[in-house]
Amino acid sequence: MKSLVRTIVAVALGAALVAPAAAQEIYIGYQAPLTGTQSQYGEVFRNAATMQLEKFNAAGGVGGRKVVIVWEDSKSDPKEAVAIGRKFVDDKRIVGVLGDFASGPSMAVGEVYAKEGMAQLSQTASHPDYTKISKWQFRNITTQAQEGPYNAKWLKDLGVKNVAVLALQNDWGLSAAENFQKSFEQLGGKATTEYFNPGTRDFRSILTKVQRTNPDAVYLAMFYEEGALLLQQAKQLGMKVPFYSTSALYAPKLIELGGDAVDGMKLTTTFDANNPAANVRAFVEDYKKRYGQEPNQFAAQGYDATGIMLEALKRAGPNATRAQVRDALAATKDYPGVTGATTFDPQTREPSKTLAKMEVKGGKFVVMPQQ
């Protein structure tokens, strides 16, 4: 009897020791502004990434092993982002990192990942130098180097000759405006750029200035907070000039805040919540059901970034090192995401995606037919 008890105890102990090893989890880190002034973006990333992760783990994970995301809040503060970077690097279980949101913190922490050798995939960092930090940096956002020329050609084809560009004075706005202006001028058009500082609320003086130059179109490089205000004030001033924008204004909030002043604006996008494709429908419906709102472009970007990372983990296998995860990420080809098929250039680590044209019509974003 005694020996039986002993055997049972031994077996139980053994099982207890073996069991966690067999079901060992794979860890990745995700840093985003979950508190602070930009927490609305961090929250959306967490929602989208959680959905993607649950779907992936339910489908068997990486060879039966589940993936766990370790969340850290950076408040979009470069010094906190760097501390998180160190924390993730110290944690030997973590094999890859997603985030951060804004380019500043993403670049600051990028120096850490470059030095210590950890793949970093930001869903949104659009700074032109971001992927130039090292071979460890990836992003899942079309850069303005792709969007700028695309939009320049679009406007040129419509016969627009003279464009006024209004851009947010930050790294993103600068690259958006410069890329557009350069390509538009190469195509023989004329463009002038007017910058405003982050936090601007009154655009009347800048709009009056634009009105005086009498452009054929106005090109907006900004986010929905500024975009909604600017378009409302333009309407109040009675401006009739057509407005165009980068994909950054694709957010349901723009219409919510801007009302009918937004109607008629045209923009490019990689994500369309009304796209009839099965994967986009499933994503939009599931997101609405869980969080009670329509996903915006940022949600889609976070969802796909997480998906790309998880697919890379799967290809790298259950015991992959950080270097193997990086190589698997670099080999991403035609990932069928909700923001279009995504391929990473193995040399520059820049994503290329299919772009679509959109128009705001009757308070809705409507995809324009491809010409």
């Binding site: 979950l34 508190t35 602070g36 969340w71 850290e72 809040d73 408040k75 470069p78 010094k79 906190e80 760097v82 501390a83 970077g85 160190r86 924390k87 690097v89 110290d90 804004a102 380019s103 500043g104 670049m107 600051a108 990028g110 120096e111 210590e116 700074h127 032109p128 130098d129 930090i133 004075q169 930050n170 790294d171 706005g173 600068l174 910058y195 500082n197």
Partner: protein, 320 residues
Amino acid sequence: MKPLALIGTVLAVAAVTAALLLSGSSYAVQVAITALIFVILTASLNLVTGTAGLMTLGHAAFYGVGAYAAALLSTKLGLSFWVTLPLAGLVTAFFGFLVALPTMRLTSIYFAVATLAIGEMIVVAITNWTGFTRGPMGIRGIPSITVFGHEGLTVNLLVVLAATLVSVWAIWRLTHSYYGNGLRALREDDQCAEAMGLNAVRLKIEVFTIACFFAGIAGALFAHTSGYISPESFRFGESILLLTMAVVGGLGSVPGSAIGAIILIVLPELLRGAGNVRMVAVGVVLFLCILFLPKGLFGEVSALAFARNQLRRAGLGWSR
């Protein structure tokens, strides 16, 4: 001089030992580096706001001037850290001097608003002067600190630690001297101080310039340890953070500044486990601190008693 030197040595040795012990965890080292840089910043702000009683709301902008000076000097002219460190301090001190000339005739809230405006102007200038500062793109590829060919996180920590000890020592000696007494007299009643023969405007300009020098040193340390800087690190919010550190530690108290800076950098990191409510928790801790210790965790009175005690035992004349 002996007991003071002894305390200094013990502190330095303890700090170096702690630094070496920490080096196992690069996360802890990173947090320690940030905390030490903020110790310099808070101690320098405290010299102006705590000791001389001039509330400044733009200190982070001078920290930014130092960081950009170091970053530009090293990336454009290829100067090494050992040259850019003092130069960043001097450039920032010069900026501080220029700013001080017109503003030092202001007192109380008017001075606060003037520094707020100047701080914003500096950050907006850094953001918009794209040709020189690369504007919102920031500056990357700032060379890291090298000591006899060695570099890395531990080297960074030891250098920042040494710079912090020297800076805090200098500020401590300034605060607890006849000069420091003069500053305190200004704070209590500047007209009375002038009647006693102190040149109030000159004293204010001097102390502001000195504080900016140390902010510049902190900026250079930040630029060279992080490798990338952008304007968002020097905005108004950081100035308020520095002010909070000084108040929580104890206005007018140098040890208080160090304690306040360390708490406000380390506490949010320790509370990471609390998830979304971590900043709320930090707020609650600060609120309780102010509620129960309105003079700060290590208030000026205790700091003065401590300094007096040390200086008397060292045989220095000030306390007699």
